[in-house]
């Protein structure tokens, strides 16, 4: 029984697997039918209370307003250019190759501009590093260009000022003897470093502190010791057959996730004829994105991490540098890992996110023992994506504290927030002669700076980057600066007293950069065009750790604490720098599936039957007190499967206080609970925290996995067996046809060793469905012959094995299709608007489950249930197989959404984009009006209608891209090529999990994909004939590890 209970089911969360009666009732009723009165209780939103008088007032007002508005057509003006730039044709997008750089986060990108404004970011397929892929953060970066909280001009003591005044003030306060501190996160730009070196020449007492909120300082030090180079190795996840990751979230946040996921997935896509894939084991305590994609997870407490590394090192015949004592289950599993590693030899890879040098030295030792250097990692082309050492920041803070600093410049980063010493930094800053912040938008550091000298947004700047040795990347502006800001480089040149004539040009840094590239023998025009180049640029070593004390070579011993707390970097907002980006705030955390905040993940354990115990009986959305020594915080908890008992986890970067409207007070700031290790390096866990029981309940718990459920598996109460709705007539169940009594084919999965039998069973079952579905009243064959087989028939193939759940596609979809952001409260009411959601399902062992991510968008059913129920034919089918949604026809009955089995239709409950026309309608986001201003609206895609209140919307298969692709082919008088039209989700995906194409093109990648044997359709049994095909999830779980 235990085995059955644990292995044969797929579930989405605790409410589902424990059959929480409230939740089951909610699923049965299909649509949450919350009485208005319940919604009103405790919410201050008066707009929801409507008396009869109000109703009449509103009625009268709207009739009058409508008639006034209709009286006179407004005069619309069209203002052409005076001199039209050669590269701009109004109505035709122009793409520029550029680079997304955020500290060490790197992605080569193409920026789509329309009429001179950037509206979308896409991957640059020419890049050998990140290729076509992007991350959610890179996708969302275009919105931060139009951020209302950006600085519009330089400030002195918080008052508006001018660049002239700022320059005068700064230069007057500096002399060649001044003690100056410069703070920055990792700097990838070789030219910027050169400028910093010049600054240092002018002011020799300059101390540069470089740190990364999510640090790799120990790894850098270890690599310097092991390989002689202070850099990150160049990892080749595609070459590895066995991947062992110690808490390194390399698919989500660790160093270069876009690059690593593309490589990783090359060895994970399964060819049914030759079933083979890599084996990936993740050793961690809270379920990270990478851990959720791993075949096996070994649970160790955060304080045991180093010991686990030592244990494995010992098992592989290396010299452990410290204690090897780990919990017995982990020890057994690690023995098995060692066996597998030895077998794989040089085709294996071990990585670790530990910030202790000893641990990293052992990782290097193991990789060396296995012979991986040169196969799965190399130091010939090392990565520079992490360079910082937080001890340099600490030293600077203590110098500031001592009052010996004349000036401190914060070039990048937010030291007053994003590290455990933020408090100390704030007090120390008061003793500095001159604090200067170069932030683009308001943050905690700028708040305490006398001078704010705002730099351009990335999309307005020139720049370069060298993420890996020999691989260069250019940043070019795609819009003129929106505000009175200045390149950081230009500011530094100015302050370091560069020759005045260089400032006579509008873009001094452009000339400087170009000169620097030309001197390195690079072809400027080609580089600007491609966005990338190979070669090297003379730079300067501006940051060094030589002055800092040596790190310890002994790893720490495991602590015997009752509860340990793991801190991690969220995929969405990083160390807090993206907190004001509503697209990222509203993108669900892939694993926890929550939005707008950080939630403490608490473990859940199975106690037999339908019973599950959660830590301290805390349930989703409960408030609990988290205590560390004197430090006490109230956090919201979420139950998390796969969280190791005795541990809890939470993301850093939330809870910002000085930030734009979207990010303020979202979540809880936990940086001050972070500690430093014995060497003064950041440690991302604390032992001996205390967690109280429930002390309250959060009003809005936006856990989107429970929204838009497609039905869950259940057991017939009469027979005690699992039932399929096709075998039992609906009335006899009396629970509703689309309720939970359906064993629906949503997720299909198998273990690698069972692939052959799985395929057989899959084919049998699909044949059964086909037989069932052929008995139809609809003349489907006729439609097929006359319509679908003529012209185009669009479809998608989604490989569940390639989908890692990173969420880049969901942000890309929002950007491409003008999907509005609705805010936390609306999400809690199931009103999120995202057209594309990534459902996360757990399966297998309840205590240590596997995970599958399923991107779900409109399935464009050829037998669409939504179309039949629309009273006004606002949704209907095109001859190209598209389920068309016509907004201007929709009257908002929402019948279609009710009837959609996939629950992918979204209703505009409010006017999210143009409500400023009628301010009473304005939806609030975090108490502030959002998205209803001309600056934010600059990000809208002009080819896609902005939907108004009261209409349904849903994925259109990016019909604007389809039409554009067809038109290009027609204009050129040629056949449409496969791959010419790509949906927005497809272009964003770093792993190529999504393929768009034409079923009628036999040669297309789509058709090849759907013939791979693993293909299935979601809910195929209900005969809606979806156009989206999924390829089953195959994992390579080693059951010997479980035993």
């Amino acid at each position: 029984m235990k085995d059955n209970q644990q292995k044969d089911q797929t579930w989405i969360g605790l409410k589902d697997i424990s059959k929480d009666p409230e939740y089951i009732a909610e699923v049965h009723s299909e649509f949450r039918d919350v009485p208005i009165s319940k919604l009103l209780v405790g919410h201050q939103n008066e707009s929801l209370t409507t008396s009869r008088r109000d109703f009449l007032k509103i009625l009268g007002f709207s009739v009058t307003a409508a008639s006034i508005a209709a009286c006179d057509a407004p005069v619309r003006r069209a203002i052409p250019y005076v001199h039209r730039p050669e590269e701009i044709v109004p109505g035709v997008p122009t793409y520029y190759a550029s680079t997304y750089v955020d500290g060490g986060d790197y992605c080569s990108i193409l920026v789509k501009t329309r009429e001179g404004r950037p509206i979308k970011i896409e991957g640059n397929s020419m890049s050998p590093i990140t290729g076509q892929g992007t991350s959610a953060r890179a996708q969302a970066h275009v919105l931060s260009l139009y951020d209302l909280s950006r600085f519009r001009q330089p400030l002195i003591d918080g008052a508006k000022s001018s660049w002239q005044e700022v320059d005068q003030l700064i230069v007057s306060k500096l002399n060649s003897g001044s003690k100056i501190g410069i703070i920055s996160r990792t700097i990838l730009s070789p030219t910027f470093k050169k400028i910093l070196a010049e600054f240092k020449t002018k002011y020799p007492n300059t101390q540069i502190a470089m740190y990364d909120p999510f640090s790799a300082a120990a790894q850098l030090a270890a690599n310097e010791k092991s390989y002689g180079i202070r850099a990150i190795p160049n990892y080749h996840f595609d070459q590895a057959e066995v991947i062992v990751s110690f808490n390194a979230d390399f698919l989500g946040t660790w160093i270069s996730p876009v690059e690593y996921s593309a490589d990783y997935i090359k060895n994970r896509k399964v060819d049914p004829k030759n079933p083979k894939m890599s084996w990936h084991v993740q050793i961690e305590n809270n379920m990270s994105l990478t851990g959720s994609n791993a075949d096996n997870r070994i649970l160790v407490k955060p304080s045991e991490q180093d010991a686990a590394i030592a244990y494995l090192c010992n098992a592989l015949g290396g010299t452990p540098l410290g204690s090897t004592s780990v919990n017995p289950e982990a020890a057994k599993a690690l023995d098995r890992v060692a066996t597998k590693l030895k077998a794989a030899g040089s085709k294996s890879l071990i990585v670790s996110a530990s910030n202790n040098m000893a641990a990293q030295l052992m990782v290097n030792q193991m990789n060396d023992i296995l012979g991986n250097l040169g196969t799965t990692l190399d130091m010939n082309t090392p990565s520079y994506q992490k360079q910082g050492d937080e001890r340099s920041l600490k030293k600077l803070i203590s110098d500031m504290e001592a009052g010996s600093m004349d000036a401190v410049f914060v070039l990048d980063g937010n030291p007053a927030f994003d590290n455990p010493w933020a408090g100390a930094f704030k007090t120390a800053a008061e003793k500095v002669g001159l604090m200067v912040s170069l932030a683009t938008a308001s943050d905690e550091t700028a708040e305490l700076s006398q001078v704010v000298a705002p730099k351009h947004h990335l999309l307005e700047s020139w720049g370069d980057a060298e993420p890996k040795k020999g691989f260069l990347s250019l940043i070019q502006p795609t819009i003129s600066p929106l505000f009175d800001t200045r390149q950081a480089e230009t500011s530094l040149l100015k302050w370091s007293g560069a020759a005045p004539e260089i400032f006579e040009d509008d873009q001094p840094y452009y000339n400087y950069l170009k000169q620097n590239w030309l001197q390195a023998g690079l072809d400027w025009d080609t580089s600007v065009h491609d966005g990338i180049a190979q070669g090297s640029i003379p730079s300067a070593e501006v940051f060094s750790t030589k002055a800092l004390p040596d790190l310890s070579t002994q790893s720490s011993t495991p602590l015997n604490a009752d509860l340990e707390l793991q801190f991690y970097e969220s995929i969405n907002i990083g160390s807090g720098q993206h907190a004001n980006n509503p697209w990222l705030q509203e993108m669900p955390d892939p694993v926890m599936r929550t939005v707008w905040g950080n939630y403490l993940s608490v473990p859940v354990t199975w106690s037999g039957g339908m019973d599950y115990d959660s830590f301290n009986d805390l349930k989703d959305g409960d408030f609990a007190e988290l205590t560390l020594g004197e430090n006490n915080k109230t956090v919201t908890v979420m139950n998390q499967f796969g969280q190791m008992p005795g541990t809890v986890g939470i993301a850093l970067g939330y809870g910002r206080r000085s930030v734009g409207a979207a990010g303020i007070n979202i979540g809880t700031n936990l940086y001050d609970m972070m500690t430093e290790g014995q060497d003064g390096l950041f440690q991302y866990f604390v032992a001996d925290v205390k967690l109280s029981g429930k002390v309250g309940k959060e009003k809005d718990i936006p856990a989107v996995q429970y929204h838009h459920s497609m039905g869950v598996t259940d057991i017939d109460p009469k027979t005690g067996k699992k039932v399929n709705v096709d075998e039992i007539t609906a009335p006899s169940i009396k629970k509703g046809y689309q309720g939970s009594l359906v064993d629906r084919s949503i997720i299909r999965r198998a273990n690698l060793e069972d692939v052959e039998t799985f395929i057989e069973e899959l084919h049998e079952e699909r044949a059964k469905f086909e037989k069932l579905n052929s008995k139809t009243l609809y003349p489907y064959e006729e439609y097929k012959e006359n319509y679908y087989e003529q012209g185009h028939h669009w479809g998608l193939a989604i490989d569940l094995n390639a989908c890692i759940g990173c969420g880049a596609c969901t942000v890309s979809c929002m950007a491409e299709n003008n999907v509005p952001v609705v805010g936390k409260r609306e999400v809690e009411r199931h009103h999120e608007m995202a057209w594309l959601r990534i459902d996360r399902y757990f399966y297998g062992d309840v205590n240590n489950p596997n995970t599958v991510y399923q991107p779900l968008m409109c399935q464009h059913c050829d037998n669409a249930p939504c179309e039949n129920v629309c009273p006004v034919a606002a949704t209907n089918h095109s001859s190209e197989g598209l389920n068309q949604m016509t907004y201007n026809r929709c009257i908002g009955t929402r019948y279609c959404a009710n009837n959609c089995p996939y629950k992918v239709r979204r209703f505009n409950w409010l006017d999210y984009t143009t409500a400023d026309l009628f301010p009473i309608n304005q939806p609030k986001l975090n108490g502030e009006i959002f998205g209803n201003d001309d600056l934010t609206r600059m990000v809208l895609n002009p080819d896609v209608t902005v939907r108004s209140r009261g209409v349904i919307e849903k994925c259109s298969f990016c019909v604007q891209r389809i039409q554009d692709g067809k038109l290009t082919a027609k204009k050129e008088g040629r056949a449409l090529k496969d791959g010419e039209i790509k949906s927005a989700c497809q272009t964003a995906c770093p792993t190529g999990a999504i393929v768009f194409g034409d079923f009628n093109n036999e040669e297309s990648e789509l058709v090849k994909n759907i013939h791979n044997g693993l293909t299935y359709q979601v809910l195929e049994e209900i005969n809606v004939r979806p156009s989206v095909n999924y390829s089953a999830k195959i994992i390579n779980r080693d059951h010997k590890l479980d035993a």
Binding site: A70, C71, D72, A73, V75, R76, R77, A78, I79, P80, Y81, V82, H83, R84, V89, P90, G91, V92, E789, Q790, G791, H792, N876, S878, S879, E880, L882, Q884, M885, T886, Y887, N888, R889, D943, V944, T945, V946, S956, V959, Q960, Q963, K966, L967, A969, K970, K971, G973, R974, A975, L976, N1000
Partner: protein
């Protein structure tokens, strides 16, 4: 009884009058329409209800009712004269409209009859119920009016017959009642009949239907602007450029070939020719100088002015006044400006300033703010390249005889019905040659090749599906 009789007669008369009322003025409105189109339509909206450059003309006679008819006629012939004479109504209109509309053109040649006809036409248009679909011009109009008349006549006759019959029945009933009930019987009067519940309900239903029909029709026409011909900041004549000079539309509107927008040409496109052509055929320097002032071209020196962006307005004024004056002297062989010349210089400069500046744009320099004539709602996606490059349509198919338009007007209704209709009827050009169609629509292409099919319409390849235009 006698009262009933009178009621009956008056009702007949009223119903007849009602039927005829609309047709009474038919004889002179046709001429009025032509005159209106020729003289007034450029500035006054032809629906007579909404303002354009000039005010809506509907109900103009009522507004002038307190003055003698001659005053209105004089106003139409020469408004400026009446303003200068200080006529109260004229001054009031000038105060209200002078600034946005400018001077109204004088029409001294109009006879009293002409004006009467026009006013009749205006009144007719103002009071007329809009027809569901208005066909192009008046060829079918007359017979339509005739048949309408017959309908009204029939309706009237039927109404009378119904009334007479009902009275007869009522009388017979009365006789019956007298027989049965004796003197207590009461005849139902016409008043009883008209105030009875059934009749009132019927009347209400009729009224609701009529109003509903009106509302729907009018609502459908909201935002449609067929015939919209606003006054542009520059009196650009398509007739001169596309008609007389035979310039290809796509030379200036170069976006039409490759973009969704046809693109209003940038001022530097104008300068391709107007560096050489410095004086217009009908407007002389008045309009072309506006382009120069927009881009900063000094026609005297024959080159662009440096740092024009930051130039002071009086400096700009100096340059262009000098140029207009010089050109005037050159054209009239004068050595110095005479009084007329000075006035022209002043007026043209004022023209430049008024055309290139407004509340938002206070600088002369920069883009010319044209008024968009063809406006589609935001939920419609239209692509010029698809129609011009792929569909090989002539611009005139949708835009009308632009080459004859002195002032550009929206010739088509740009309604969805109009679009769909064309998509239903139009054959896909180059279906057989364009490889895109050949390789995408294999079945139809084969039928074309082996002769079983003559043509493929836009509709047949999905051209009337919602998401071809709405997404």
């Amino acid at each position: 009884m006698s009262l009933n009789y009178i009621q009956r007669i008056s009702l007949c008369i009223i119903s007849f009058l009602f039927a005829f009322l609309l047709d009474l003025q038919a004889q002179d409105t046709a001429a009025g329409k032509n005159l209106f189109k020729a003289n007034c339509a450029a500035c006054h909206n032809k629906d007579m209800k909404s303002n354009m450059t000039g005010p809506a003309l509907g109900g103009v006679e009522e507004r002038w009712a307190e003055y003698p008819k001659e005053d209105l006629y004089a106003w139409i012939r020469n408004s400026q004269k009446q303003i200068s004479e200080g006529h109260p109504m004229a001054t009031q209109l000038w105060d209200e409209w002078g600034e946005k509309g400018g001077q109204m053109t004088s029409f001294p040649a109009l006879k009293d009859d002409d004006i009467a006809n026009m006013l009749a036409y205006i009144q007719q248009e103002f009071t007329k119920v809009p027809e569901a679909v208005e066909t192009v011009t008046s060829t079918g109009g007359q017979s339509k009016q005739k048949s309408n008349f017959i309908y009204y006549l029939l309706l009237g006759v039927l109404a009378i017959v119904a009334l007479v019959l009902s009275r007869v029945i009522s009388g017979l009933n009365y006789i019956q009642d007298v027989k049965e009930l004796g003197p207590n019987a009461k005849q139902r009067t016409l008043w009883d009949a008209l105030t009875n519940k059934g009749f009132v309900a019927l009347l209400l239903v009729g009224l609701m239907t009529f109003l509903g029909y009106q509302v729907v029709n009018r609502a459908m026409n909201l935002g449609r602007q067929q015939g919209y011909a606003p006054t542009q900041p520059i009196k650009f004549s398509h007739k001169v450029h596309a008609g007389d000079q035979q310039i290809d539309c796509k030379y200036c509107h170069d976006g039409a070939r490759r973009s969704k927008h046809s693109v209003i040409p940038a001022a530097n496109t104008c300068m391709n020719c107007h560096t050489a052509v410095t004086s217009g055929t009908t407007t002389g320097t008045a309009e072309i100088s506006k382009i120069y002032a927009s881009v900063g071209f000094d026609p005297v020196a024959g080159k662009y002015i440096e740092d024009y962006e930051n130039m002071e307005e009086d400096k700009i004024e100096e340059i262009y006044k000098a140029w207009i004056g010089a050109k005037y002297m050159e054209d009239n062989d004068l050595a110095s400006l005479d009084a007329k010349g000075e006035r022209i210089v002043r007026e043209q400069w004022r023209g430049i300033k008024n055309s290139l500046t407004n509340k938002q744009k206070t600088k002369i320099q920069g883009g010319i703010e044209w008024i968009r004539v063809h406006n589609l709602p935001d939920h419609v996606y239209f692509n010029h390249a698809q129609h011009v490059t792929v569909g090989k349509l002539e611009c005139q198919t949708c835009h009308g005889p632009v080459q004859e338009m002195e002032v550009l007007e929206q010739s088509a209704p740009l309604s969805m019905g109009w679009c769909i209709n064309c998509h239903r009827q139009t054959e896909v050009k180059g279906f057989a040659d364009n490889k895109y169609y050949a390789e995408s629509y294999i079945k139809m292409h084969e039928e074309m090749v082996n002769g079983t099919r003559k043509s493929v319409t836009v509709e047949e390849i999905g051209g009337t599906e919602c998401q071809k235009c709405h997404y």
